[in-house]
Amino acid sequence: MHFDAFDRYHEKESFLHRLDPRVKVLVTVVFIISNALLPDGAWLAFGFAWLFVLVNNLLSKLGIGYTLKRSIIALPFALIAITVLFSIPGKPLTTFNFMMMDLTITDMGLLRFVSILIRSWLSVQMAILLVAVTRFPDLIHALEHLRIPAVLTTIIAFLYRYLFVLTDEVFRLLRAREARSAAVPGSRSGGGVVWRAKVAGNMAGQLFLRSYERSDRIYNAMVARGYAGHLYTLNPHEMRSADYYATALAIAIIFVTHLLGRF
């Protein structure tokens, strides 16, 4: 069984798909940084940034609501910021009792919370779009070109390659347990909680050992083909003039948006 749930790439023929991966990574990172640095309550800039995301959605031919739908999964993580509602001094809006504590929501707190929510939501959408229009190996190449240390890009490449193998391994382990989780008629199946925890612990240990031994075999396979501590790659990417224009235009738009939020 192949487990491809992690592959977020969507094959399509579009301007964004054809763009050099370096451009896409760079623009995404600049967009996210600009977003994070916008002051609270810069509604106009937030609006323009969202427009930018929407236009990119259209350019990718994945549909205007593509990233909006998928960005919902990131929402629970934004709830970590919920404490700013009560911890920023300002005009009290309402007070309620939670677990014998009086919590007061202030106007400044609310402003910051909403701003954080919008910022992270916009950033997540951009990242989702990036992986949807760029094949993963191309992403790694782009990072290599942008001078990210080889150790990091190599780790990411291996992670991507073996995530699938590991997931398969996990499912094989789970299936093996399932297949033997029988019950005698009339008696309760499953055993005690401690026993079950022990089984799960053993499975985690098994997974670690198998991965560890696999890493040994992979290293041998690399050494057998001449690996001596440094990875070499050929890269098929070349920046065309359209790539340069697109970078310039996108960065300019992001810059203007940022200025709008500042003044």
């Binding site: 192949h2 050494v223 050929l234």
Partner: protein
């Protein structure tokens, strides 16, 4: 019950070991388990040799010695070069080792990058690397898979790509560890045809006795870290006492 080992001699052509010569190789794993107890064998240009024997006979361990991944006591000579630390890179370019699990062999995100890995690490120029990758994929008839992701391939496809990853290094000796294990009949047939057509000296460990009879004129039988028989496949497969003594079956 201990197995008594009498190395059986079968008539075969004269071979001085111009591709590979292993002499009295001993190896123990760090946990003390001794895997090789004095293995000697010689391979000559154009030889296609099967390496058979029960699980734990030391076949895989022997293969890991052939390009210096493991280093036991004894001599390993590849194309007349004694294996030392200094000529390891040169020897690794000459001995193409394909591991049993293609998931271990294929570690790059795309097929192209995996096949290009060996030539790139030999320091070849880019144009040469591309030519070799195309030639290797052509040889295993997988040209259309050039830009595919390795983890989306079937086992049979992965095996063929795994062979291409060493073919691209133009090895003078191909060493394959159980290439037909886990393949369905059609994938196995494709693989057998592929191995037959490759004009390279090869040493192939396998349990697939039908493939041995069909493909390899010469067979080496190993058991308990020793070579117990070395000769013409048709002679060895007729010797049922020998096969039974070492847990093998006549196909």
């Amino acid at each position: 019950m201990p197995v008594t080992h009498i190395t059986q001699q079968f008539p075969q052509h004269e071979c001085s070991g111009d591709v590979l010569a292993v002499n009295d190789l001993h190896f123990s794993y760090p946990d003390g388990h001794s895997a090789l107890n004095g293995v000697s064998l010689k391979l000559c240009g154009g030889d296609k040799v099967a390496l058979v024997g029960p699980n734990g006979a030391g076949k895989s361990t022997l293969m890991l010695h052939l390009n210096g991944i493991l280093g036991g006591k004894g001599e390993v000579e590849v194309a007349g070069m004694h294996l030392t630390r200094d000529n390891l890179p040169a020897i690794r370019a000459m001995v193409g080792l394909v591991f049993q699990s293609p998931d271990d062999q294929l570690f790059s995100p795309t097929v192209f990058e995996d096949v290009a890995f060996g030539p790139l690490h030999m320091g070849l120029p880019e144009a040469e690397v591309r030519t070799r990758v195309d030639a290797a994929l052509e040889a295993v008839r997988m040209t259309a898979y050039r830009d595919r992701l390795s983890h989306h391939l079937s086992v049979g496809e992965k095996k063929r790509i795994a062979i291409a990853t060493v073919l691209s290094m133009n090895p003078s000796l191909l060493v394959l560890d159980e290439p037909s294990a886990g393949l369905d009949p059609r994938a196995r047939r494709t693989l057998i045809n592929l191995l037959r057509d490759l004009p390279i000296t090869m040493l192939v460990s396998t349990h697939d006795m039908a493939m041995v009879r069909e493909l390899f004129p010469r067979t080496i039988v190993m058991d308990e870290g020793r070579v117990v028989a070395d000769g013409l496949t048709m002679d060895i497969l007729e010797n049922e006492t020998l096969l039974n003594a070492h847990g093998l079956e006549k196909p």
